[in-house]
């Protein structure tokens, strides 16, 4: 469920098709995101899931799966 919601957020911010977004997809290399895009995605995640992701943890996010893991960790 987290993954599907995340797909929506990423597709909206980066203007890409949902099908392009897979767990192993990287934000910078595969999707062409810059630091502001990633920041916007993280803000979107925080709002959607009503969680807070720590700055240090946010910097470690490279792939979509990394973001899913962060969401799961924060929700728990």
């Amino acid at each position: 469920m987290e993954f599907e919601k995340l797909q929506d957020i990423i597709a909206d911010v980066l203007n890409v098709q949902k099908e392009e977004i897979k767990p192993e997809t990287t934000f910078v290399d595969d999707l062409g995101a810059d630091s502001l895009d990633i920041f916007q995605i993280i803000m979107g995640i925080e709002e959607e899931f009503d969680i807070e992701i720590d700055n240090d943890e946010a910097e470690k996010i490279v792939t979509v799966q990394d973001a899913v893991d962060q969401i799961k960790k924060a929700v728990e």
Partner: protein
């Protein structure tokens, strides 16, 4: 009466906050009945400032925000960390549709980051540029971009040209505005890689009036209406313009005060000089909009006085009335469809 424009105003941002900001808000509502201002910031401080004036009280409302983002703070960290700051609270009002526009004289970085992240880009807009109006010999020109994207790509500059043209035509009333790309010579083959790649793309655009290269020295003469460049170049032009202008005026004043004879001359020429220089006063033209966002975000000079704040607020009314965002959305969509067809 026309529709009300709701402007969220950062009361705590800028060198002269909150005094000049609150004063600017009061001046704006005294001039216009079609404006509602939401002053964001520390309630007690704003209330004390407002108490100095008589104004239509139903047109100004305070939205409490306890934190302040300082200019020196890293923007991303500030926007993430200070959720109850005057900037974040105001931008959320725009995001949630409670305000049509946001005006701030505070941290440029925080306004740029917050604009993109909190207010959000119009779908298809790759990078939102910061576009100040520039006084010239023939009127005003729009310098786009001067602060938001230091590593721009050709496709970004093409979008800047389109958004800038829409702004000049709709807000400034300039019919079929001319567009030029900042270059180091007039010829198409001149310039760095970015300019060389962008030039033919702009030339191929049917919906803008591209006239070729513009050299920096031609800008003050008003050679083109929309001056397209990447932010690094734009920022250098803007700051140099301000610096040269300031230094020149200082030198002229010194010369005028150097002898009794020149002092008498200065006294005679003063009214004419004052009127002329008013045309070159950037505060008369309001702030710089961050174009391509879902709402309007206007950044005014950090040292803004009430005049500039007031003009920036009034500028938002025209922006809303002219439905600039809808026009930008349509132009970007059209480009995307053209690109798809040519693929």
């Amino acid at each position: 009466m026309s529709e009300i424009t709701r402007v969220a105003l950062d009361a705590m941002g800028g060198d002269n906050a909150p005094v000049e900001i609150v004063k600017g808000a009061v001046e704006a509502v005294q001039k216009r009945k079609d404006i509602q201002i939401l002053l964001t910031g520390q309630e007690g401080v704003i209330r004390n400032e407002l108490a100095k004036y008589t104004y239509p009280e139903d047109q100004i409302r305070i939205v409490n925000a306890t934190e302040i983002i300082e200019t020196a703070e890293p923007p991303v960290k500030a926007i993430r960390g200070k959720k109850d700051s005057s900037i974040v609270v105001a931008m959320k009002l725009v995001k949630n549709g409670e305000a049509d526009a946001f005006v701030s004289a505070g941290s440029t970085g925080a306004v740029l980051v917050g604009g993109q992240v909190l207010v959000g880009r119009i779908k298809g807009v790759e990078r939102p540029p910061l576009a100040p109006l520039f006084p010239t010999l023939t009127g005003v020109s729009l310098l786009i971009d001067c602060g938001a994207n230091v590593d721009a790509r050709p496709s970004h500059l093409v979008q800047f040209a389109k958004m800038g043209s829409i702004y000049m035509e709709s807000v400034m009333g300039k019919k079929n505005p001319t567009v030029g790309i900042v270059n180091i010579g007039a010829e198409e083959e001149k310039g760095n890689a970015l300019v060389k790649e962008t030039f033919p793309l702009l030339k191929a655009c049917k919906d803008i009036n591209f006239v070729g290269s513009v050299e920096a020295r031609e800008i003050p003469y008003g050679k083109v209406d929309v001056i397209v460049c990447e932010a690094f170049v734009g920022n250098v032009i803007l700051k140099l313009y301000e610096g040269v202008g300031g230094a020149l005026i200082k030198k002229v004043k010194e010369g005028m005060m150097s002898s009794l004879r020149s002092k008498i001359g200065a006294l005679l020429v003063k009214p004419a000089l004052k009127a002329t220089l008013k045309d070159f006063d950037a505060s008369e033209y309001g702030g710089a909009p961050l174009l391509g966002l879902k709402g309007l975000v206007v950044k005014t000079h950090g040292s803004s006085t009430s005049t500039e704040v007031c003009n920036s607020i009034i500028q938002c009314v025209t922006f809303k009335e002219q439905k600039i965002n809808e026009k930008i959305k349509a132009a970007i969509q059209e480009t995307q469809e053209e690109n798809k067809e040519s693929e």
